[in-house]
């Protein structure tokens, strides 16, 4: 069986790769493209560690086939910072110590960016529901939520 050829855009760059049908987008990002920031936690869409943004929508890259990426626009954790300048959510996560082991952090950052892109001024409740699909077993979430709300405030210029 021949492999599928995929042309897509990842973090603003045109990218081409070959994949087997059963490879997920997460498999392709990590194994074919060496973009290992997205993490494999559960492989069943429950933990959110593999979160990416596809055509402006937050999805689990473990629940999407790599071949479905054809023609799509994908944002991963690797595209969040601009060179050495961290995205506000990254900066606030550092300042608020919103991570411990760090395994869930790339997914949380991508999910938080997707939240603030769409809802620049979320309530705490909205932020908690939005991030309910991102599991973190270390932090207890309070620092995470505080960091996300503070990043939103900074992005609004407050």
């Amino acid at each position: 069986m021949s492999k599928n050829h995929v042309s897509t855009t990842i973090n603003g760059e045109p990218v081409e790769f070959l994949c087997e049908t059963q490879q997920t987008l997460l498999d392709a990002l990590r194994d074919e493209l060496q973009l290992t920031g997205s993490k494999e936690g559960c492989s069943s869409g429950d933990c959110g560690a593999c979160s990416v943004i596809v055509d402006g929508r937050l999805v689990c890259s473990c629940l999407m086939l790599a071949v479905e990426a054809e023609g799509r626009t994908i944002e991963t954790i690797e595209g969040l910072a601009r060179g050495d300048v961290l995205h506000p959510v990254q900066q606030k996560f550092l300042q608020a110590a919103a991570l411990q082991c760090g395994f869930c952090t790339p997914g949380l950052l991508v999910a938080a960016k997707a939240l603030l892109d769409r809802h620049p001024d979320p309530t705490e409740t909205e932020a908690r529901y939005w991030l309910a699909g991102n599991l973190c077993r270390c932090t207890g979430y309070d620092k995470v939520i505080r960091a996300v709300l503070e990043a939103g405030a900074e992005m609004r210029g407050e």
């Binding site: 049908t21 929508r57 309910a132």
Partner: protein, 289 residues
């Protein structure tokens, strides 16, 4: 060596012929939020995925003749963002929005929720209560079917080889109509219904219920329509006596199992409570119109 192939047709006819031609080993791929988990666990061993998301019209919500048409591959997030749909069918929209996380909402579809045929599917009771129909395309053309005709048991549907859902239709509503869906889960988010209850009703100007549909989820092998529950409501105002009759009818309709999520006794009792509460919410919403 893998033998799994992939195709993303751009017409319904091409999707039907791919599905019909694959010796029964082809699966429709829309959101993939159940299918890819089943693929990885080995529960499903398809030969081909037919990705239907590139077929024009399969993604999107449009108004038609006072009702709504929802493309089969429309992700739940788009359903939740459609204001007119939310206004007309708040119960259907709240059920669709309960499925999974933000990430899952970005992919999961009503057709997938229906055809995965879990007894606990959240959107299915709400769609049945709404008298939703679906258009099924297959080798012998297209047919309309009520949503309740699709799932036949856990993981099983009435769809024949080569058939797929292409869209759902929600009818035009009379004035003072509304619906509601509630589910019980042991936490506030990210879980599977222990019991679900949908109520869709219409009131007359005095507040008497003139039409109703009551549907329960997760208390039988498929979602169950409860005609006795509707009969308990029609011709009455939703006072405590009426709601008690609804509660009893809902409990009588339950044929649940005991599993890690709940016992037969618990599910039966909760079904009555949720039916009551969903009816009360639907009644309040209808009265506000």
């Amino acid at each position: 060596m893998s033998t799994l192939s992939y195709t993303s047709p751009t017409t319904v006819e091409a999707a039907v012929s791919a599905l019909a031609g694959a010796n029964g080993g082809a699966k429709v791929l829309s959101g993939g939020t159940d299918l890819l988990v089943q693929l990885r666990s080995g529960r499903s061993r398809p030969e081909m995925f037919v990705d239907v998301k590139r077929i024009p019209g399969l993604i999107g919500v449009r108004e038609e003749n006072g009702g709504f048409v929802i493309g089969a591959a429309t992700p739940c997030v788009l359903i939740g963002e459609h204001r007119a749909l939310q206004q007309a069918w708040p119960g259907v929209v709240e059920a669709a929005r309960l499925i999974g996380s933000t990430q899952v909402q970005g992919r999961a579809t009503l057709a997938g929720n229906l055809c995965n045929a879990s007894p606990a599917a959240d959107s299915v009771p709400a769609m049945i209560a709404a008298r939703a129909t679906c258009t099924v395309a297959g080798p012998s053309g297209r047919r309309e079917a009520p949503v309740e005709a699709i799932a036949t048991g856990p993981g099983r549907t009435s769809l024949a080889r080569g058939e797929l859902l292409i869209e759902f239709r929600l009818p035009k509503r009379p004035p003072r109509s509304a619906d509601a869906y509630l589910r019980f889960i042991p936490r506030t988010e990210m879980d599977i219904a222990v019991v679900g209850a949908a109520v869709n009703l219409t009131l007359d100007p005095s507040g008497t219920c003139t039409e109703a549909r009551v549907v329960l989820g997760a208390v039988a092998p498929t979602a169950v329509l409860v005609p006795d529950g509707a009969a308990a409501l029609v011709g009455r105002r939703l006072d405590s006596d009426t709601l008690s009759r609804l509660d009893a009818a809902a409990r009588r309709a339950c044929v649940p199992i005991t599993d890690k999520r709940g016992t037969i006794e618990f599910r039966t009792q909760v079904a009555g409570v949720l039916a009551r509460r969903a009816a009360t919410i639907a009644c309040t919403r209808a009265g506000e119109r």
